[in-house]
């Protein structure tokens, strides 16, 4: 196994693609094929699913032709950015623009080294003002700036 050249990234990628393509194909089995003259909703998806599976298998097969290591995802970035966006989603409707922006900025900023409270809060304040000017005043989009649900 040691001497075989495997591009692990492509192997995983190709395998994943083939799996997704297969799932697409499975799902499209639920839709009517119709006949040749009047193709149903299942025709195109089924064909596409098969194409994706073939491509995925192809990529995985070609992975044996050269070397490659698995990529290292930046877990810290994914966690903080995802949290940041989800925080926005959670806060914007209930609490309004400013709290949402603050949460987003603070959580996002945690993703990079060198977190500094003063810089972050200033950025959040600046952004809140900027967004208020552009979106609420400039484009007349009715965002509530701050809301306290009781």
């Amino acid at each position: 196994m040691q001497n075989w050249r495997i591009d692990k990234t492509d192997l995983v990628g190709g395998g994943l693609m083939a799996l997704v393509g297969f799932l697409v194909f499975l799902e499209s089995l639920n839709y009517d094929m119709g006949d040749m003259a009047s193709i149903g909703p299942g025709f195109f998806p089924r064909a596409l699913g098969i194409i994706v599976v073939i491509c995925g298998l192809g990529v995985a097969a070609m992975a044996f032709l050269h070397d490659g290591v698995l990529p290292k995802p930046n877990w810290r970035a994914v966690a903080t950015i995802a949290a940041s966006i989800l925080a926005f989603a959670g806060l914007i409707q209930t609490f309004g623009l400013v709290p949402a922006i603050f949460a987003t900025v603070i959580l996002a900023r945690l993703g990079e080294a060198g977190f500094n409270w003063r810089q972050t809060v200033l950025t959040a304040m600046g952004l809140s003002l900027f967004c208020y000017l552009i979106f609420v005043l400039g484009l007349s989009i009715p965002f509530a700036v701050v809301r306290w649900p009781l």
């Binding site: 990234t9 492509d10 995983v12 990628g13 693609m17 997704v20 393509g21 697409v24 799902e27 839709y31 009517d32 040749m36 003259a37 009047s38 193709i39 149903g40 195109f44 998806p45 596409l48 699913g49 194409i51 994706v52 491509c55 995925g56 192809g58 990529v59 070609m62 990529p71 995802p73 930046n74 810290r76 970035a77 994914v78 950015i81 995802a82 940041s84 966006i85 989800l86 926005f88 989603a89 959670g90 914007i92 409707q93 949402a100 987003t104 900025v105 996002a108 900023r109 993703g111 990079e112 060198g114 810089q119 972050t120 950025t123 952004l127 967004c131 979106f135 484009l139 989009i141 965002f143």
Partner: protein, 513 residues
């Protein structure tokens, strides 16, 4: 011909209305602002700024979109010259001689020539557009659904084979994009596809969500933990530094002229995008030059020609999109989607049935192009200042804009969650070295391709050979087959295409440096 000119005059006048001019100004400025940000190319920029146009009247929205489009192209060049961080692959060529020029203290010259060249290239391209569009529109009317299907197929295959290293990955991405585009209620049969009993998905995924998540959020994810931009702080760029020496200007005219022609012609070809014209133009200049050894070390021709070519190509890329309704590449697909959201369906009917819309668009192209020239020369100082802002402060802002932009479409926080999901998906794709851009192309084309396929088979009563019997369709399919064969042969004979990947992977590579 004369009536074209008259209509165009009307369109320009329409675009010169003060409010419209204001929106054009905003579009160009904001577009450049976001385009300047390292790693964010025109595709990501337009994706993120699209919601800003929703609250405007169609003409104003289009003018702003056009402004955003040019602005982002120009912004990308600025980042290439000053930071050696191209916003997209087309701008990567500019780095080759632009960055050395900047290190020699001649950044102002490079930026000036870029602006002038882009303007001239753009004007030339718009002229080509005006000349070619009406006759093309007339030809297009005689095209049937078979030709449309084949043409869309060609656009997809060309985009995948000409740009990316791995055709298999590209095809997989396009196919998945097509599937994603089909998600939702099928108009013909009423069947709800790929919704998994989630009512939210019954209408399918919205273009804004997919584009913002796939390009905006994933871009931010990919750029985290990367190198910072400290070098720019030491640069002083002022207006007077901008004017290039006589020698430099003299050297630039011919490359600009050549770039205009090359870019305009190549931009019409589906799949070429702006990357190939830029690279070809650079290679051509080097070939034609009497002193090719200067290239790579700060030859002004190496900046003038590709910048002109890529702006010209960006303009003529509108030709197939507007006259035939078939986007030439992912960025055009996004513009097409944006136009449709504003209620304008590009295609042969556009020129014949809604000539006022078409000519207003053309007018907005002229105005946008001019505004780019007029604004960016004095505003260069601002862009440079912006590049000095550490990325640490910028990216939370980008994220906030993305969230706000998405939320403002439907006031649905579920949309924001979806953007997060698409962002993570985009990031995973990038890590696995799959290009997300073809996915967007497939996504926009999905429903259209299926509709044309259905219609063709309906008319031919299930006979597939109609695609080969009709001459135009057969010709298009032949080119498709040829392109596929070429890339297959290239892969098999071990010769890997050294063409550049798209924005995102360039960002990853650049940030790793």
């Amino acid at each position: 011909m004369m009536e074209s000119l008259a209509s165009m005059g009307g369109g320009i006048l329409h675009a010169l209305d003060p409010m419209t001019l204001l929106y054009c100004f905003v579009g160009v400025t904001v577009g450049t602002f976001v385009g300047v940000l390292p790693g964010i190319g025109p595709l990501a920029t337009v994706s993120m700024l699209l919601p800003l146009t929703f609250y405007l009247e169609p003409t104003q929205a289009l003018v702003m979109l056009a402004g955003i489009y040019y602005g982002s192209q120009y912004g990308g060049s600025t980042a290439s010259i000053l930071l050696n961080l191209p916003g997209d692959a087309g701008a990567a060529v500019t780095c080759l001689d632009g960055y050395p020029l900047a290190r020699q203290g001649k950044a102002g010259t490079a930026l000036f020539v870029t602006t002038i060249g882009s303007f001239i290239g753009g004007c030339f391209a718009i002229t080509v557009l005006v000349l070619l569009a009406p006759p093309l529109g007339r030809i297009a009317v005689s095209m049937s659904s078979a030709e449309y299907f084949s043409m869309m197929l060609l656009g997809i295959i060309a985009a995948v084979t000409l740009v990316n290293g791995s055709v298999l990955k590209g095809v997989a991405m396009v196919a998945l994009g097509l599937v994603l585009g089909l998600m939702g209620t099928d108009v013909m049969s009423g069947t709800i596809r790929f919704a998994f009993d989630i009512p939210y998905l019954y209408d399918g995924a919205s273009l804004v969500l997919v584009a913002m998540g796939l390009f905006g959020v994933s871009e931010v994810l990919a750029s985290m933990g990367a190198a910072d931009n400290d070098w720019v702080a030491s640069q002083k760029i002022r207006l007077r530094n901008l004017i290039p020496s006589r020698d430099d200007m003299n050297r630039s005219w011919a490359p600009i002229a050549r770039g205009s022609v090359l870019g305009s012609i190549m931009g019409i070809v589906p799949g070429a995008g702006t990357t190939i014209p830029a690279f070809l133009s650079y290679a051509f200049e080097k070939r034609v030059s009497r002193t090719p050894e200067r290239f790579g070390k700060g030859a002004i021709e190496g900046v003038a020609a590709p910048e002109t070519a890529n702006n010209a190509a960006a303009q003529t890329a509108f030709i197939p999109t507007l006259t035939l309704g078939v986007p030439g590449g992912p960025t055009m697909a996004l513009m097409l989607g944006a136009l449709m959201i504003h209620g304008i369906t590009p295609g042969p009917q556009l020129i014949t049935q809604h000539p006022d819309v078409f000519w207003s668009l053309v007018g907005s192209f002229w105005v946008g192009n001019l505004m780019l020239l007029v604004l960016n020369l004095p505003m260069v100082g601002i862009w440079v200042w912006m590049l000095k802002i550490p990325y640490r402060i910028l990216y939370p802002g980008i994220l906030v804009f993305i969230c706000l932009g998405v939320y403002s479409v439907n006031y649905s926080f579920v949309d924001v969650i979806m953007v997060c999901a698409f962002g993570v998906v985009g990031y995973i794709l990038m890590l696995l070295r799959f290009e997300p851009a073809p996915l967007l192309l497939g996504f926009v084309l999905g429903p259209m391709m299926e509709e044309n396929l259905r219609r063709t088979l309906l008319i031919s009563n299930g006979d597939f050979s109609v695609f080969i019997e009709r001459p135009v369709s057969a010709g298009l399919l032949l080119v498709c087959a040829g392109l596929l064969a070429m890339s297959l042969w290239g892969a098999v004979s071990g010769r890997r295409k050294k063409l550049p990947p798209s924005d995102e992977s360039m960002a990853i590579e650049a940030h790793k440096a």
